[in-house]
């Protein structure tokens, strides 16, 4: 306590001498950023929260209905299934890409990278990363064409004599979610690979060499060196991917529109429909608010876990 008082007292004495020490003047630099933050993010967010207690079509009078919208959400089967699908999105966007990405990055870096030229590894890495830079809707349109009943996937299956496997990949409720998840894995996989490979190049190579001399095999090195060394990056990947998973919109819009039935609804797409097609602004706001709170809670939890793991490491 007294420590902080001491340090904050010192600059005050020097303030007159140098612009660096006068902290108040720096608030001027927040004007553009602060105005934008307020006008585009904080105020609209608060306004949306307020609207979630209303019934409104976007024009005319706003009717205040208290918690009605939230009560309705609890018995809305489409909304509930859209939240259940969030779990599927997390599997497809966070769990599978992070685990696979870890293995792929380690193999590229520690196994293939030792035997083959750097270009080979770089080209493979770029290939895995390619889907990440394609606009998500274009990816969605292309996959929609690949997966349609007479699309390329089924044609290829028939051509190689596996015609019995051909399916209406996006048109059947029990397959559509899996197809969507596969597309999302395809989109996402390159991100962890690139981040983890960069993280590995930061790790001292002598660690690996020493382990190798001690007779540790590739799998042993993976568990004892790779995973602990790149923990900071793992947290960032998990955080960004989880937020992305909660916000999935484009692929659903382009591939399935939430169907067939309610099989592939996600909260983001459902709230979009509620806002702009059903014109139920209050109800849509309640959905969006629940989604936003979920995003904030999950992010804070991951940030907290990250902090704790860092603190543990320093000890």
């Amino acid at each position: 306590m007294s420590d902080t008082q001491l340090t904050s007292a010192r600059p005050r004495a020097r303030r007159a001498r140098s612009p660096l020490q006068d902290r108040r003047g720096y608030w001027l630099y927040f004007i553009p950023g602060g105005v934008l933050l307020l006008a585009v993010i904080l105020v609209p967010f608060a306004w949306g929260f307020v609207l979630s207690f209303s019934r409104w079509s976007g024009v005319g009078d706003i009717v205040w209905v208290g918690l009605d919208n939230y009560r309705q959400l609890l018995s809305d089967s489409v909304f509930l299934s859209s939240f259940a699908n969030v779990l599927a999105m997390i599997v497809a966007v966070v769990v599978i890409p992070t685990l696979l990405g870890l293995v792929i990055a380690a193999v590229l870096f520690d196994y293939l990278g030792r035997r083959f030229a750097g270009n080979v590894v770089a080209v493979l890495r770029a290939t895995f990363y390619l889907p990440q830079i394609i606009p998500i809707v274009i990816a969605g349109i292309v996959w929609g064409w690949v997966l349609q009943p007479d699309g390329s996937l089924n044609t290829i299956l028939r051509a190689v004599g596996l015609g019995f496997l051909a399916q209406n990949w996006l048109g059947q409720p029990h397959l559509a979610l899996g197809s969507l998840m596969t597309v999302l894995v395809w989109v996402q996989i390159g991100y962890p690979v690139v981040v983890f490979m960069a993280a590995l190049s930061r790790v001292d190579p002598e660690l690996y060499e020493a382990a190798q001399l001690d007779g540790a095999g590739a799998i042993r090195r993976f568990r004892a060196i790779t995973i602990p060394q790149i923990r900071p990056e793992t947290f960032v990947v998990v955080l960004t991917c989880t937020v992305a998973a909660l916000k999935v919109f484009g692929p659903v819009y382009a591939l399935t529109s939430g169907g067939p039935g309610n099989a592939t609804y996600v909260p983001s797409y459902l709230s979009y429909q509620t806002f702009f097609q059903k014109l139920q602004v209050g109800y849509g706001s309640a959905m969006a608010t629940v989604l936003a709170l979920l995003v904030l809670l999950v992010s804070l939890a991951i940030l907290w876990a990250q902090r704790r793991s860092e603190a543990k490491e320093e000890r």
Binding site: S18, F30, V40, I104, I136, I141, V194, P232, S299
Partner: protein, 293 residues
């Protein structure tokens, strides 16, 4: 990745054989990875092949065969039908303006937080981070409503303002932590020479942090270019739409012609691919800068 397999114990006669066996394993692994790579790019390869087909060629011979004959008809049809140059210009204007302004706003914010060390800076950093993480869905309706009231709906400026706010929130978070480790000796020297705060920003901080700013610019550009949700809501007129929005509008109108759809997808991909090949280094650096605090 320079030194190949250091320290193979070559004393026993068995060692070379073991090394060779290990080599076979590596070749098998390489083959697996190449195969996976091919599977990953295969949808894009199919797009390339089918964008150059005529409709009858596609209907009779399917999409696995090479075009016969190769034709630019679909490409030029999509080019004129969707007014592609205009869409390209729209996407470019929105992305370029957003990236420049968002980098500028991030720089100003981060200067105050990271170098000015204003009071409550940790709270501010967390606030900016959370603002960036908030789903756009939670503020889209008020934004849409106000934009309609003030005449920013259906304009590029409206979309630019929204993107600058969202992206600069991320940029502030990132730059503030980078500036936290800025060499103070430089700042003090400049201050002793009598440089004002504004001058220190542009003469000392800006040049030194330029590499990070370039990374931010590149990230913002790609994010804006690929963004879908906000343009979908805010840009309804053909004349202001971006490249991805134009393609999905086209898909709704001309559901039948698959080669035309492929041509559109290919045309829409080319700018991102060009950008990727030019800025591949910066981009991979950018993705990783975001990951190392």
């Amino acid at each position: 990745m320079t030194a190949p397999v250091p320290g193979i114990p070559a004393r026993t006669a068995e060692a070379p054989r073991r090394a060779r066996r290990r080599d076979v394993g590596r070749w098998v692994m390489l083959a697996i990875f190449v195969a996976v790579g091919i599977v990953i790019v295969s949808p894009m390869l199919l797009v390339v092949v089918n964008a150059f087909k005529t409709q009858p060629d596609y209907t009779t011979r399917g999409f696995l065969s090479l075009p016969q004959p190769w034709t630019f008809d679909q490409i030029s049809t999509y080019w004129t039908q969707s007014d592609f140059p205009l869409k390209l210009a729209n996407s470019f204007i929105i992305s370029a303006a957003t990236s420049v302004l968002a980098v500028l706003v991030s720089l100003l914010n981060a200067y105050a937080i990271g170098i000015g060390r204003v009071r409550g800076r940790l709270t501010l950093v967390v606030l900016f981070l959370l603002a960036n993480l908030l789903p756009a869905e939670a503020m889209i309706y008020p934004l849409y409503y106000v934009a309609k009231q003030v005449g920013l709906y259906n304009t590029q400026l409206g979309v630019i303002i929204i993107f600058v706010a969202i992206h600069s929130a991320f940029g502030t978070y990132l730059l503030a932590s980078v500036f936290g480790t800025f060499p103070t000796a430089l700042l003090e020297a400049a201050a002793l020479d009598g440089a004002s705060r504004w001058r220190i920003l542009w003469r000392v901080v800006f040049p030194i942090s330029r590499p990070t700013l370039v990374v931010l610019f590149t990230l913002f550009f790609v994010w804006t270019w690929n963004e879908f949700y906000i343009p979908l809501v805010m840009l309804v007129d053909d004349s202001v739409q971006t490249v991805p929005i134009a393609l999905i509008a086209q898909q709704g109108q001309h559901q039948t012609s698959i080669p035309l759809l492929n041509a559109g997808a290919l045309l829409s991909l080319v700018p991102t691919l060009v950008f990727f090949f030019i800025f591949q280094r910066t981009l991979t650096r950018g993705v990783t800068v975001g990951a190392v605090k």
